[in-house]
Amino acid sequence: MASLKIWLIRLRPIIAALLGLSLGIGITALAGESPAHVVAVLVKSALGSPYDLGMTLFYTTPLVFTGLSVAMAFQCGLFNIGAEGQLAMGALWAAVLGIVMPGLPGFVAPVFAVLACILGGAAWGAIPGWLRAKRGSHEVINTIMMNFVSAGVCSYVTLYVFRNTEGQNPETLPIAAAYQLSQFSSFGGAPVSWALILAVLVWAGCIVFLRKTRLGFQLMSVGENESAAEASGISSPKMRILAMAIAGGLAGLVGVGEVLGNAHKFKMGFSADFGFIGIAVALLARGRPEGVLPSAFLFGALHKGTADLDFETTHVTRELALILQALVILSVSADGLWDWMNRIGVKKRTGKAAS
């Protein structure tokens, strides 16, 4: 009975996701669509063909990065709502590099551009980290604010500095060919590039970082118990800044798939709220990087699947598809938040018992 309970607790986010999905499908049923058909469409359009699977993986890639971004900040006790702004900055830096330095040889150019993504995001993430560590202003508010500033900076650079005068889209000039990542041919034209492989490697790197390195351990200690970490000699302000820089850098890597692997330029508003869905990805992964990869794949599949519901059914409009997606995010987040609050509550209680 006890072990069953532990299993239930472990599986709770997955149960919550399934619950949200059933609720959503229930609502499409109310709209007059057969649930079996909806599920079939979801599965088929997420995984049905190499192209569909490719699109799912294409959406999964940025979600791995933003999910990791939120999870790594979470490990240091920080709530990063700024992944949306950080990913835009990472993508912008990579695009700018690809425009202003077209002469870089083909074998170093992508490496430099990846570094630009990391640095752009990291710099953007470190600012709220610094504000939190040194000024005590809360990162939730600062990261939200930084999202707006990021949008402003991106818009300025895009429209007034490197505007692509060819098209009407608010986007920059294209990056030089040396920077562009080739797309895998096995996905029927879906823009799956090396960014996907990078995402998996970075995911593994995050896990190793937390489990095996001193810095990772110190970062996690601060997240677990700041006073105890301080007492053990760890500087929590330093760790907070580091954690937010890491979070920002991870989010910035979204630019690799988008700028280097897909659009080959910076397009304003290219992110389909990846930074915010990343929060749900991290919550489903219970705030740990380990679970981010499957969680991101689930959300990627859901994103691709629901996009086609509109197309494949008669009664499910885009709004209903969004509601379905939102219900999954909501139930996962509610579950994660509940757990989080519970944990704080437990701490308080154990604290009392000691006095």
């Binding site: 192209y51 569909d52 699109m55 294409f58 959406y59 707006f148 949008a151 402003g152 991106c154 818009s155 300025y156 429209l159 505007r163 005068t165 098209g167 009407q168 889209n169 608010p170 034209g189 879906a190 897909n262 659009a263 397009k267 304003m268 508003g269 290219f270 992110s271 389909a272 709220d273 994103h303 691709k304 629901t306 996009a307 086609d308 509109d310 197309f311 409009t317 885009r318 598809a321 969004l322």
Partner: protein, 354 residues
Amino acid sequence: MHLKKFGFLGRVASFLVLALWTSLASAGGLNGVGLKVGMVLDKGGKDDKSFNASAYSGANRAKDELKIQYKYVEATDDNAFEPLLRSFAQKDFDLIIGVGFAQAEAMAKVSKAFPNKLFAIVDSDVKGANVRSLMFEEHEGSFLMGAVAALKSKSGKIGFIGGMAIPLIKRFEMGFEAGVKHVNPKATVTSNFVGVTADSWNNPPKAKELALGQFNNGVDVIFQAAGASGSGVFDAAEEKKKFAIGVDSNQNWMKPGVILTSMMKRVDISVYETIKEVAAARNAEGKLPADFNKTFAGLKRFGLKNSGVDYALDSHNQKEMSADVKKKIDDLKGQITSGKIKVPDFYTAKAGKK
């Protein structure tokens, strides 16, 4: 969907157009049955009261009148265009219409991959042997709006509020300013943009704030090209008892007495006409002539000349658009269509020039 709100004149006009086309249709033995049209709307969706709504109504009309089969989808994000266009092409749809410049790239890619299908795109110029581009001369319509504003302004201070400083909106702004200066060279135009994110098209409070700021500085007419944010400008004008000008569809009815007129962009007509052309070209088996692509593909401009862009006149703004104002505007319209006045176009103007 806005047809019913056009008022009396609008109704008469659309009736005439309709009657004309219906007669054409019967004359040519038009058979739309079996023609399958797919339409991918931009992120704004069919209820944006702007160009998506307009495209949607045009296609609906084709469905009612030409008996075509028709399905539309709304994109969730920029990366969704390509899979959606592809999905239509993979099925048995004959004509696939993309609405909005954001899908230009996806359209270019997918149209190349499916050379046997027909594609059309609204608001962008996509090259391709099987693609028709439907572009609107927003600057021409904006020029007329500038002229109306300059004629109605007492202070000589005129405002422009755009959604976002993107080329399309800059095109509105440039044409508008030229119209103002043409009527009153001494008048000044103040420009503001609602924002830098996608939210800019849907932020009436911010637009209202900007409008109030302009009115407080002496501006007495504002032209807005800000999507759904525009209603904020109308609210501000009503509050301050000043004037505003609507955009995209006929918005006169929203605040009669406040809204001088609206610059209409007839996406519906462009969509309807494109569908109709395809339907008309089909033979009894539903086959298109072998060289149809040649007549179909290419850039089709919709300006003042072919009523693709126009100003709105109905019962709601009869008082504001008095006979002499109307006469002057129609006169200017004639000069533009005859080529006597050349309206500056942001797209062809030198890059970087604001």
